[in-house]
């Protein structure tokens, strides 16, 4: 592999050719014969190039990033499909892998340094299993076996290419232990390596991500395998919900070991060569080394070489040849913000500048130069980051120094950026409302079942309230506190009918509490707010000092956190685990699957923004919001479906032996999937709705156990996803292609998935051969959701909070060097955390919005849809009236009454009655254009106020609507109803409608207060009906 890089450096091969060579198996005619010859000779190594490159860069940077920040490349892949090994035998590969380390034990007593560290990390999620012990098969190492090693982490030898042995750097002969995987921040040990093990710096991670209380986090390894808790309490760290028992013994042990380890390393390390102040202390590493070395563009050692590597690297990123785009960005940011370099031995520097023999990064200057080079190529992605990140980046003095041009572009992007990622509204812990249609006695087989469910509902909320009150108390344990009550309650659910009722309640409550982004990390019910990101960089220095004194500083998950259940999701996970009822789980899976199918198949609006007339803009905002809601719901449901579906199979590690694995495979392969995700994915791709389907599918798959990827069914899904990933080239922006942010979202979630321990690491760098079946004909539907810009920055950050790690990294840089930084915006904004969770002072408008929301909460959902529909139609119709140049007559997409009936018909609910009371027979009548449609819609709702009115009397105003709205808005609602009685209903109808419209358009969409008039009005009508 290095040969390729060398050829590049010797300029035998152009970068473009090399990237083409990497990306595509077939030979391109563009290559010159010379290039082709060189590349052909290296053909067998093609697949290994990218992992090699990533590992190479990380090794090279190990002296700069001694703290071992979490930027590993989980790029061992190619090795599993070694060219040396007969190709196309994934089984063989797997077998070999599992046999390579059959005896590895999660030794907590290992005295050897690396073992201790890794063991510590790997065991992190482990103690979980002790909790309750009822969770089947949740074993010692919660997340992952992958960290053990990747077979052939350095398989260059194995690949048998004679051209490489000279590259001692990347070819340490000693593959003996866990260190073989290419960790960022540590240099592989080996006698031949020029870096001696003793020189290796203890990879203490960057400070804010590190706490003593979480020794299990080890950033030297693939990040996914570290299970950083998002909560200060160790109780809730495991994604599998098996938190540590309080006062976990092993945790303390680990901590002890870690301390010993540190001191040992301190003694070993040749202090003159490695000024690593963090070694002696147990405090976060950066505390001692805050002052960064200045970087100087003039002192870059070999700009050409760096430029070239940067170009190759960037091209690989651009072609999506790297598994995780944001991980690479994070790495580059780390290089940019590296503080100082561990001095290398002199001999290292005497080597030729042109080959790989000499270190790529010889100084901070090299690192920064390289980073800036890469960033220049990645500007497009950078510019779509949030405003805070852009600001920090644009203010970075190193970046300014190395590339004023890029700085200028970033600054422009910052100034042009309107989107600001804000805290979403904290979720309201409201109960699922009682709906007589589904919840009254008639829906139960017996009085007993009815009363049992009544009690269950109360117990469920009692448990939920207790959880809200107590889950943040130290020492409180879900299982101990609530487990027996939950099981007693579940025990009463004997009849299947009750199960379905309870599952419906559970699922609704889940959606209600966790669907909003705030519910994921809610400030009210969830974990502590992300203070680090709330405070500006200015405050970070102070915060950092405070942090040093606190044992558990702000935690963050790194750029690739494992799947977790933040905030109130934790309640639902723990509930499922504590209930441990297979009937419940089965009903839950059924229900989740159905809901996922339903939402996934939802016909979302597909029209482009900025259509002909005024309505489109409003519609467009609504459509975007609707998409976000559907997407977030789907992700939540899929996450829980994955959690429950794979719960029985979840294990710590892959099966130890091939035989065992084969027998498990034989068992599992005959089990039908809980939800036919493959078909859904294929449909999604075909219908060009990947932007909706892939993100939830990723959530589902992130909970897969180790066997899942080996099953043909799921393997084909993974292959398909890889194919999708590769096809999402950001720079291509063809007609009908996916929109940029849509692509970015998919890249981010897929990249995250590829870092999950259970994701087959050999798959990513594998030949993309078997994708023929996936060549789905996208021509079928030209205008799918993919080509509509449905994803905005906020949604991107909500779905992928780990992108925010970039900002934290940059912010921590500023905090370390704020004295010297001369940013262009030096405004000091007073920050306060009181606003984070506290309720905003209630304005009357806010209260009105809350009232409207509350009103709909207790009504069947169909009512809301109906009202939204009415408001929207009336709105657009009024605009048509105002608009002196109507472009075309209004066409209702479907019969309004049929819509009403479709929503509510068949049930005995209020809306159904609304329709039945009115002009059902009138639908076929030709009424001209828009207004009668509204009249029809509105009429049934109005008629109770005036029984004398005839169908069709509601005709929209001929007069100017705004004036009308003005008069109506001054009258109070009761007078409005009086008017209704006194005058023709049409008049009142008109006024109310106009009012609604007027407000709708003046205030813009998205504010419930705007439509509240109409809501109230209809609500009153319904009230009178009831």
């Amino acid at each position: 592999m290095a040969a390729v890089l060398e050829s590049l450096l010797r300029e035998e091969v152009s970068v473009a050719a090399a990237v083409r060579w990497i990306a595509r198996s077939t030979q391109s005619s563009e290559e010159s014969p010379g290039e082709a010859a060189v590349l052909n000779s290296l053909r067998p190594l093609r697949k290994e190039f990218v992992p090699f490159l990533l590992n190479f860069l990380r090794e090279q940077s190990s002296r700069v990033l001694p703290q071992g920040p979490p930027t590993p490349a989980k790029a061992p892949g190619a090795s599993a499909a070694l060219p040396g090994r007969p190709g196309g035998q994934p089984r063989g590969g797997r077998g070999a892998r599992s046999q390579l380390f059959p005896t590895t034990e999660p030794s907590s007593t290992a005295a050897e340094a690396p073992l201790t560290r890794r063991g510590g990390r790997r065991r992190g999620p482990g103690p979980a299993r002790e909790r309750g012990g009822r969770a089947p098969g949740v074993p010692e190492e919660g997340v992952g076996g992958e960290s053990l090693s990747w077979p052939g982490g350095r398989r260059l030898k194995g690949s048998g290419s004679p051209s490489i042995p000279s590259l001692t750097l990347s070819d340490p002969p000693n593959l003996s232990n866990l260190e073989e995987f290419p960790p960022v921040g540590s240099v592989p040990p080996g006698p031949a390596g020029r870096t001696k093990p003793s020189r290796r710096i203890n990879p203490t991670p960057v400070s804010e991500e590190r706490s003593l209380s979480k020794p299990k986090i080890c950033f030297t390894s693939p990040p996914i395998s570290c299970v950083p808790s998002s909560q200060p309490s160790t109780l809730d760290t495991s994604p599998w919900g098996l938190g540590l028992p309080p006062g976990c013994r092993s945790l303390r042990e680990e901590r002890e070991m870690l301390r010993k380890e540190r001191s040992k390393q301190l003694q070993q390390s040749p202090t003159p060569a490695s000024p690593t102040p963090e070694l002696g202390t147990s405090l976060p590493s950066r505390t001692g080394s805050l002052t960064a070395e200045p970087a100087d563009p003039a002192r870059v050692s070999s700009p050409q070489r760096l430029e070239l590597v940067a170009l190759v690297y960037s091209s690989c990123i651009a072609e999506n040849l790297v598994p995780n785009l944001f991980l690479e960005l994070f790495f580059v940011f780390q290089l940019l913000t590296a503080r100082r370099m561990v001095a290398a031995k002199n001999s290292d520097l005497e080597l030729s500048q042109d080959s790989l023999e000499s270190p790529l990064f010889q100084s901070i200057h090299d690192c920064v130069f390289f980073a800036v080079q890469v960033l220049q190529h990645q500007f497009q992605v950078l510019s779509s980051l949030d405003k805070g990140t852009l600001k920090l980046l644009a203010e970075n003095e190193r970046l300014l120094c190395f590339s004023p041009a890029l700085q200028g572009r970033l600054r422009a992007a910052y100034e042009g950026s309107v989107a600001k990622v804000s805290l979403a509204m904290p979720p309201s812990a409201q109960a699922v409302s009682f709906q007589p249609e589904t919840d009254n006695r008639a829906n139960f087989s017996s009085d007993r079942a009815f009363h049992t469910f009544k009690k269950q509902r109360d117990v469920f909320y009692e448990v939920l309230r207790e959880w809200e009150d107590r889950h943040e108390e130290p020492g409180w344990d879900f299982e101990k506190g609530l487990g027996s009550r939950i099981r007693a309650m579940m025990g009463q659910l004997s009849a299947a009918c009750s199960h379905s009722h309870f599952v419906r309640l559970f699922q609704k409550q889940l959606l209600q509490m966790c669907q909003s982004p705030g519910g994921a990390g809610g400030t009210v019910l969830g974990e502590a707010p992300d203070v680090l990101s709330m405070l500006g960089a200015d405050k970070l220095g102070r915060l950092r000092r405070l942090q040093e004194r606190l044992v558990a500083p702000q935690s963050s998950g790194g750029p690739c956190p494992p799947p977790t259940f933040p905030g109130c999701q934790g309640f639902f996970r723990d509930f499922i685990l504590s209930a441990s009822s297979f009937q419940f789980n089965q009903h839950l899976m059924d229900s989740l699957s159905l809901k996922i199918r339903e939402l996934n198949g939802l016909a979302l609006p597909q029209h482009e923004p900025g259509d002909e007339d005024g309505e489109s803009d409003v519609d467009w905002q609504g459509a975007r919001r609707q998409f976000a809601v559907v997407l977030l719901s789907l992700r939540l449901l899929a996450k829980f479906l994955g959690f429950v579906a794979f719960l029985p199979y979840r294990g710590p590690e892959p099966p130890p032996t091939r035989e065992l694995q084969d027998s498990i495979l034989a068992l599992r392969s005959q089990v039908p999937p809980v939800l036919d995700v493959q078909a859904l994915l294929q449909q999604g791709l075909r219908a060009r709705r990947a932007v909706l389907t892939v993100p939830w599918l990723v959530e589902f798959l992130s909970f897969a156990d180790h066997i899942v990827p080996l099953l043909d069914y799921y393997r084909s899904i993974f292959t398909l996803l890889l194919h999708v990933h590769r096809s999402l080239v950001l720079s291509q922006d063809n007609e009908g292609e996916m929109c940029f942010l849509n692509k970015l979202l998919l890249l981010a979630v897929l990249g995250w998935l590829f870092q999950i321990p259970t994701f087959p690491e050999d798959l990513f760098f594998l030949e993309e051969g078997q994708v023929d079946a996936l060549e789905v004909d996208t021509a079928a539907s030209e205008h799918g959701l993919d080509s509509v810009p449905v994803v905005d920055q906020q949604l991107l950050y909500i779905c992928c909070p780990y992108i925010g790690e970039l900002r934290k990294l940059l912010a921590s840089w500023v905090s370390g060097s704020s004295g010297r930084s001369g940013g262009f915006v030096r405004k000091i904004t007073p920050t306060t955390t009181t606003g984070l969770g506290a309720q905003a002072p209630q304005t009357s408008q806010g209260l009105q919005a809350q009232l409207a929301q509350a009103f709909f909460h207790n009504q069947p959902p169909s009512l809301r849809r109906t009202v939204e529909f009415v408001a929207e139609r009336i709105g657009s119709n009024c605009v048509k009236h105002i608009n002196p140049f109507p472009t075309h007559p209004f066409q209702l997409p479907q019969n309004p009454l049929s819509l009403l009936q479709g929503d509510a018909g068949g049930r005995s609910g209020a809306p159904g009655r609304v329709t039945s009371s009115g002009a059902a027979g009138d639908t076929g009548t030709e009424r001209g254009r828009s207004s009668p449609v509204v009249g029809d819609l509105v009429f049934p709702a109005v008629s109770p106020w005036d029984p004398g009115i005839e169908p069709g009397a509601g005709v929209l105003p001929k007069e100017e609507p705004w004036g009308c709205a003005g008069t109506a808005s001054r009258g109070d609602p009761s007078s409005c109803t009086k008017q209704c009685r006194e005058h023709s209903c049409g008049a009142c109808n008109r006024k109310s409608m106009c009012l609604a419209v007027g407000q709708h358009y003046r205030l813009g969409p998205g504010k419930w207060g705007t439509e509240s008039d109409l809501e109230r009005w209809i609500g009153r009508v319904l009230g009178s009906l009831g």
Binding site: S433, A854, F855, A968, Q999, G1009, L1022
Partner: protein, 281 residues
Amino acid sequence: MILTKAQYDEIAQCLVSVPPTRQSLRKLKQRFPSQSQATLLSIFSQEYQKHIKRTHAKHHTSEAIENYYQRYLNGVVKNGAAPVLLELANEVDYAPSLMARIILERFLQEHEETPPSKSVINSMLRDPSQIPDGVLANQVYQCIVNDCCYGPLVDCIKHAIGHEHEVLLRDLLLEKNLSFLDEDQLRAKGYDKTPDFILQVPVAVEGHIIHWIESKASFGDECSHHAYLHDQFWSYWNRFGPGLVIYWYGFIQELDCNRERGILLKACFPTDIVTLCHSTA
């Protein structure tokens, strides 16, 4: 009428020392002139009930029952018209109605071959003329009419007061032009838990959204409030969201701690009701 915990404790402390008679109630009123009679009566009644609950078991041992019965028999033999049972109850510090029930039960056990059912006893207490023994019927009657905290008469009064306040609340809601469903309508629709009123369009009271209103014609002390929370208020919240409880005779201020959670306490019909209205823009 909203008392602090300290104020309440003072009243409760004072009640411990006095017998449950109308005279004591008058004394109480003199001692706490600022409190309304209804509030004091309600507290008085609740405290007395707590006291009876504490001593209940003591009066229901078979020895005690036998002892009371014998004393009753001895008493009526001497003078059947004297308030034997009532005096006995006052003497042993037990509620007269409950004493009457004990004696009636014991009497029926002796005179009937099968042990009497609860409903039979209840019915006899409601209408003492059904009691086969005229002397006992008279004694029971005296007990019931002289008991100010227990017995069918008191139950009837309580029920009437409760109903009265519900009607009052209904009138207020109608006056405010708020649409609602009452308990009967809810029951007809098959609701499994029914507050007094569900507002069909929620309103805001003191900045808190409420969906339902429950009327309680009593004083809200800790004991009764917690029981209500568990059996009623939280159940309502679980189905209809946040709501309002009106303790017409007041409550302990400290109990109004679930406002954010969705249980709002008031001692009267709220004055600042915000409804969904037109002029929001």
